[in-house]
């Protein structure tokens, strides 16, 4: 999984590409935790075609970490199949997500 970083205003943006699964989760977690700082981090998920529970574990950990650091944290551009995983697992209730980066930044 590839992760590239950029900025949108004051927010860090992490653009992920590929699968977020058992094989890629540990490295993704380390990279994303290092990018997570106030005022916040947005994960652009538009190029992520697959998230398994190992991937959800990373996203949950980031959410808890964000709370500890007082940083905003949200996801953008979930693909429909990935959004289904979020809804079925109930993660849509605990991690904010938006259709576009503009909406995430404005939130």
């Amino acid at each position: 999984m590839q992760i590239t970083s950029s900025q949108s205003g004051a927010l860090n943006v992490a653009t992920l590409e590929g699968r977020l699964d058992t094989a890629t989760a540990a490295e993704a977690e380390a990279t994303l935790i290092s990018m997570l700082a106030a005022p916040g981090l947005v994960l652009d998920m538009a190029q992520v075609r697959y998230v398994s529970s190992a991937g959800l574990r990373v996203l949950l950990k980031l959410a808890k970490e964000a709370r500890t650091k007082g940083a905003a944290y949200s996801l953008v551009g979930l693909q429909p199949a990935v959004r289904e995983v979020f809804e079925v697992s109930g993660f849509d209730k605990i991690i904010p997500s938006y259709a576009t980066l503009a909406e995430a930044v404005a939130a």
Binding site: R19, T22, A23, Y50, L56, A63, A81, V88, S89
Partner: protein, 132 residues
């Protein structure tokens, strides 16, 4: 396919094979996604928790309306369908990830069946082949 080395390459190998299968079969997006997710979750349980298991095998077949996959392993007797449900209404503080694999089966599969035979766990899952 048979996976005889239950190390960190086992799951990516499985996922690659299932993605290729879904593409070759031209499965619609959600059907493909559910197939890969469920097989991944259940095979991961074998790799991580099945003490002494030496392999798992995944067989996939396709009918006009359904995709069926069977996961076979030689680990200790374990019926994943007998477990309780994940708490998906918990808040961020309370939330853990236990039980998600079974939860995904309950929400995403058309049917699920487990049996024990000749020292193997055999789990058969059927999915709607038309799910978009």
């Amino acid at each position: 396919m048979d996976v005889d080395t239950l190390d960190h390459t086992a799951l990516p190998t499985l996922l690659d094979a299932l993605e290729a299968y879904a593409e070759a079969q031209e499965l619609p997006m959600k059907a493909a996604s559910r197939l890969v997710l469920l097989a991944d979750e259940l095979a991961a349980n074998v790799v991580m928790h099945a003490q002494g298991a030496s392999f798992f095998a995944v067989d996939v077949s396709r009918g006009p309306d359904a995709v069926t996959f069977t996961l076979t392993d030689d680990g200790p007797e374990y019926d994943p369908l007998g477990r309780g449900e994940a708490n998906t209404n918990a808040s961020l503080e309370e939330r853990t990830l236990g039980g998600l694999g079974v939860h995904f089966i309950e929400k995403l599969a058309s049917s699920a069946h487990w049996r024990r035979e000749d020292g193997h766990n055999i789990l058969t899952i059927t999915l709607d082949a038309a799910a978009e």
